[in-house]
Amino acid sequence: MFRYLKIGVWSLSGIFDLDLGRYALCSMLLAQGGFMNRKIRVLIAKPGLDGHDRGAKVIARALRDAGMEVIYTGIRQTPEQIANAAIQEGVDIVGLSSLSGAHMSLFPKVVQILKEKGAEDIIVFGGGIIPVDDIPLLKQAGIREIFQPGTSTEDIIQYIQENVKTTGISKSEA
């Protein structure tokens, strides 16, 4: 069974949790109010066996503070679990973090599974300890951006804001 940590909440009310039913209800309420611009939804995920999640947690919190809704998967997720969570949660973008060197096997699998499930519109980016020579290969495999050590959270926020279009209701809610 997929398990995840609920980090992001609707800052408008604080009472809405991130499970799908309540999210849909909340969206409806907001839509009725004529408030069509919804928040960017992000899944931060830790594929593989790597337990180093300082960076993942810092980024999840920075994105939340920047007004996004963030779900953090917790550690030790398989690519299947991550892709399923991304679809179930209707996220716009997925951030993968790996420091164990397993990125070449794991990152492309997430993109591939999303594609197989018809969710190729979900953007996938990554970060961690990724040798520069691996970056072009990961980009070829469909990972849109790789952030290196020393990247500021501001840069990642800006990247997401520029690359995710949030007007209207996302596909998974339609």
Binding site: D50, G51, A102, P131, G150
Partner: protein
């Protein structure tokens, strides 16, 4: 005298100091350590009026060990220079060990890959992409025989960073020694075996906390009778610090975990003096030089008091906090990586001035990958320069008595104790971890640290100040992806050649032991000798104990 001093200090502040400050204010309105301890401009004997030398500092080798755990410290024997190493296969890592020993390293420290740390064989689907990446892959005793080939286990001491599968790797080490004709009671080394911090920060747990604690105390009990010179646990603040906590939190969380282990062992029927001298500790050494030196001294004094007052330990050795130090991996920058050599040197110096028993110095290229041989050599040379050229190893606790160091030592001890009491009020470290309290504190500190860097409240040279245009480092250690296939083939060969009936019998005996209460180490030792795999042994225990899931 102290009254005069107070008057003199007041006078100085009002006259000499005031004259300067009114014209040019200080660089910052206040100065704080990473633990948010306010640093005063100047420390004087007035800050130490309460200090009782004999009570609070004492002498090296005697409680409360503030000045060091050995009577001669580095004048007798230098700290053990122990570089954490392991990658790819046992064959490759064995070569690196021989290189390190030839370069003057004095102890081994084994890094295992993640599947080995989490109890999966190299052919397990979850091991995909992880085999040999962050350490050496060990599936069976065969790999362990290759890893230590040509290395006399009665001569070297070996530290193994292994936790949830510690009993299996220790058993394999004992079995290899036996094949070399070395008895277990002469083996020297350490297994990390600190499962609590895995739930709090590092993440290589398998079983739920209670079952994990049983394995930990089974190891204590087994080693007390059979591997007497072995450090049965290395209670680690390192990973919590790397995950973002402060120096004070590092001391507090580590010693709280220590309390939980001592309590568990006593509950399991062990006499405190029968195992406490084999407990070892592992700390990080970060950038704030004086705070780090003070941290080590404070931790030693606090642990000594805890063991004596709370657990009524009778032997002095039971109260000694002996520790390994690793410089702070998270302080390394990918930008201008050669600067890391300097950072590591300062951190290593602080660890030595703090009285460490062994030391790993990180390599300049570790923000990119596992280190190359050249980078490791510089890291090791850094320790050797401190040891042989700097002179700091020639006297004991040379910073002892410094008004600033002693005051910070007192403050860190006090603040850490407050945290420990808070954790005790929650029901102890296990409860505090289960409720997510410790993880939350670590994450909060990590986030604040990041914010300080991004707002330039904290300057990291080359990262947010003094940057240059540069290309990322390309000359790094690469793990050949072919090794995964090689490792799987080796595993398949071992499985084919071993006596599979014997393996099954041993695993059945282990399962029965796990269902009951007998010590798990002897049946694990029998199992590894039949070349039962690490995954098979772990799966046997998973069937009985279940698996822990992050809450």
């Amino acid at each position: 005298m102290s009254k005069n001093l107070q008057e003199e200090l007041n006078r100085w502040e009002k006259t000499t100091l005031q004259k300067v400050i009114s014209k040019s204010p200080e660089r910052q309105p206040s100065f704080q350590t990473t633990s948010h301890i306010e640093m005063k401009r100047l420390y004087t004997p007035l800050d130490l009026q309460e200090m009782d030398y004999c009570e609070d500092l004492g002498f090296p080798g005697e409680p409360p060990f503030t000045r060091g755990v050995q009577p001669t410290m580095y004048r007798g024997r230098l700290w053990t220079m122990r570089q954490y190493a392991g990658f790819a296969t046992a064959e490759e890592t064995n070569k690196r060990y021989k290189f390190l020993l030839q370069q003057g390293q004095t102890g081994l420290s084994v890094a295992f890959d993640l599947p080995t740390q989490i109890g999966y064989d190299s052919d397990h689907p979850l091991a995909d992409g992880e085999v040999g990446k962050v350490g050496v892959a060990i599936d069976t005793l065969k790999d362990m025989e290759i890893l230590f080939d040509g290395i006399p286990l009665d001569k070297v001491s070996t530290s193994m960073t292994i936790n949830s599968t510690a009993a299996i790797l220790l058993a394999m080490y004992i079995a290899v020694a036996e094949k070399q004709g070395v008895k277990s009671n002469v083996l020297q080394g350490t297994i990390q075996n600190d499962i609590l911090k895995e739930y709090a920060a590092r993440g290589t747990y398998i079983f739920p906390p209670l079952e994990s604690m049983r394995i930990v105390t089974d190891i204590f009990a087994f080693c007390k009778d059979h591997v007497q010179r072995w450090n049965t646990i290395s209670i680690s603040g390192y990973h919590m610090r790397e995950a973002g906590c402060t120096a004070v939190q590092e001391v507090a969380f580590t010693l709280s975990d220590g309390i939980a282990y001592v309590e568990a062992a006593i509950r399991a029927g062990l006499d405190v003096d029968s195992f406490a001298s084999r407990l070892a500790f592992f700390f990080c050494c970060h950038n704030n030089f004086i705070e780090e030196v003070a941290k080590f001294r404070a931790a030693r004094r606090l642990w000594s008091k805890i063991m004596k007052e709370r657990f009524k330990a009778k032997k002095d050795e039971s109260c000694m906090l002996r520790f390994h130090t690793q410089t702070a991996g998270c302080s390394l920058t990918a930008q201008q990586p050669d600067n890391n050599v300097v950072r590591v040197a300062f951190q290593a110096l602080a660890a030595v001035l703090g009285g460490t028993q062994s030391l790993h110095t990180n390599s300049r290229d570790e923000a990119y990958a596992l280190p190359t041989e050249d980078s490791v050599r510089i890291a090791l040379r850094t320790q050797q320069i401190i040891a042989y050229e700097s002179g700091v190893a020639d006297m004991i606790d040379p910073l002892g008595g410094s008004y600033a160091v002693e005051t910070l030592t007192n403050e860190i001890e006090k603040k850490a104790l407050e945290y420990i009491e808070k954790i005790e009020a929650m029901g102890g470290a296990i409860k505090a971890i289960e409720s997510g309290y410790i993880q939350g504190e670590i994450a909060e500190s990590a986030y604040q640290y990041q914010k300080e860097i991004e707002t330039k409240k904290r300057i990291i040279v080359g990262l947010n100040q003094f940057q240059v245009e540069e290309q990322p480092l390309r000359d790094i250690l690469k793990i050949n992806p072919e090794i995964e296939r090689y490792q799987k083939e080796k595993l398949a060969r071992v499985k084919k050649e071993r006596d599979n009936i014997k393996v099954k019998q041993c695993l059945a005996v282990l399962k029965k032991a796990a269902q009951g209460t007998e010590n798990l180490v002897p049946p694990i030792l029998e199992a590894v000798k039949t070349y039962a795999t690490l995954g098979e042994i772990s799966d046997t225990l998973r069937e009985v104990f279940g698996e822990y899931r992050e809450q």
